[in-house]
Symmetry: C2
């Protein structure tokens, strides 16, 4: 008899968004003259800039004749793109990241959702609260949590983000193995200073943990003191995977292009501890 | 301490393709005058036809101005596409499939790889042999098998495809819950008759199993007696998920567009048997 993955029945996200929709709808009915800015599920509205439009058309022309047709691209992304990323997004900022540590993909949602599959099921996972639901939901579906109660899943370590800590969480008080961080943050907009990121990298090194660092909103940083990449912190190459997106402010809004950085010196253990 | 998903260490595919490369290389060295047709990992070589090229350019123009910019599409695919698929690929062939049972995606590889996550880990899985490696590897990574020995994973039920059965496997002699079928077949090219497919659908209904039917190569069928869809078989709506691809012969070679059909009457069980 075929049976379902019962972890899926624990998912609460649909209730959350249904609840938001219900409350927004009730508010609008009671306040028909008030304009509401929706901060739930977002969408993009601006067209692509001319440079991107031109590049897309050029790509289509390449597919249109046998001489320039490329076939399936390499699964890690084209070398010219990986090299440009390594050089401009990392080496130019003093980060020691090579082209063969860049993995181009169809979006940071897919990457941050799928990455947890390479780790054991019984690890301890820390997530900020509030947080991008994809981090949580994919761990729920993978069976790393118990059921939800009062909006939180049993078994996850929640890192409080509140006004009193400027929405930047403190280190966990109990041991964790996998830590999700997102700066600039979705949904709060908070950033992390160099000192705060260093504390996380040091924590991960001491506790043999791995940080999943979502930098999808990196292009929004204006303060020159704020790191754009976790690899600006010494030692991060051993303990951090970084996610970037071209779909936010890089001109590709609404399309799907992103990449993940997995340094060759990153380390996870097998059961023998090796 | 962060630990890896040790199921990944069971994977043998890289050895297979490394072995193919080694043998091909040795043969070519010994037979430098012989042209070799590679039947390992394939690629596409022909450009897109004008109708597809034109549609791609039109799509880029839409993204280039605010009036026509679409933003993120609906996660199940655009309604106009789902309706065209339901009508032309299914209803026109007498299959009872509605537009809201069509889920458009970025490729049949992703869909056939990801679909197993919705089922329990401890189900019994049947795969033809030989088979598209993605079906097997994703079940290995999900922990549904033991280690590999002599090219086969412990815990999987292998369905023999040999010259004496015309590469179309017989029903399993032991009970299974999830059955992968691919017709026309990758890699053998074999097809399944209406009677053969009916036997599988009847088996699945009797055993409360689900069939994952990969019809990515459906456009190659020339014999009018061969079904193009498993939904041409009575009762398949309750026991089959079908995968289709636009990346094979539909003009989109080398790009990524596909869809999965999940009928609303499909049934899997929870532990309570409900």
């Amino acid at each position: 008899m075929i049976r379902i993955n019962e972890n899926f029945t624990k998912l609460q996200a649909s209730y959350l968004f249904a609840d938001i929709a219900r409350r927004v709808s009730a508010f609008q009915e009671a306040n028909p003259q008030t304009r509401v800015i929706r901060l739930g599920i977002g969408d993009v509205t601006e067209p692509l800039p001319p440079a991107c439009v031109e590049a897309f058309h050029k790509g289509v022309y390449e597919l249109a004749s046998r001489e320039t047709f490329r076939g399936y691209g390499p699964e890690q992304g084209y070398a010219f793109l990986r090299e440009a990323i390594a050089q401009n997004d990392f080496q130019a900022r003093g980060c020691e990241i090579a082209a063969d540590e860049i993995f181009v993909s169809d979006g940071a949602k897919c990457d941050t959702g799928n990455i947890q599959e390479i780790f054991a099921t019984d690890i301890r996972v820390a997530v900020p609260d509030p947080v991008y639901p994809v981090y949580v939901d994919t761990n729920v579906m993978a069976g790393r949590t118990g059921p939800a109660e009062n909006g939180r899943y049993a078994g996850l370590v929640y890192l409080e983000c509140r006004p009193d800590n400027n929405y930047t969480p403190a280190l966990p008080s109990e041991p964790v193995d996998l830590i999700y961080l997102c700066f600039p943050n979705n949904p709060t907009g908070a950033t992390a200073s160099r000192e705060q990121l260093k504390a996380w990298v040091d924590y991960a090194r001491e506790n043999r943990a791995i940080i999943l660092f979502d930098a999808a909103y990196e292009a929004f940083i204006r303060d020159p003191e704020i790191p754009h990449s976790i690899y600006e912190i010494d030692g991060a190459r051993e303990v951090a995977i970084e996610f970037r997106s071209f779909s936010k402010v890089a001109g590709f809004t609404g399309t799907r292009c992103a990449y993940t950085v997995v340094p060759k010196s990153l380390k996870a253990w097998d059961t023998a501890g090796g």
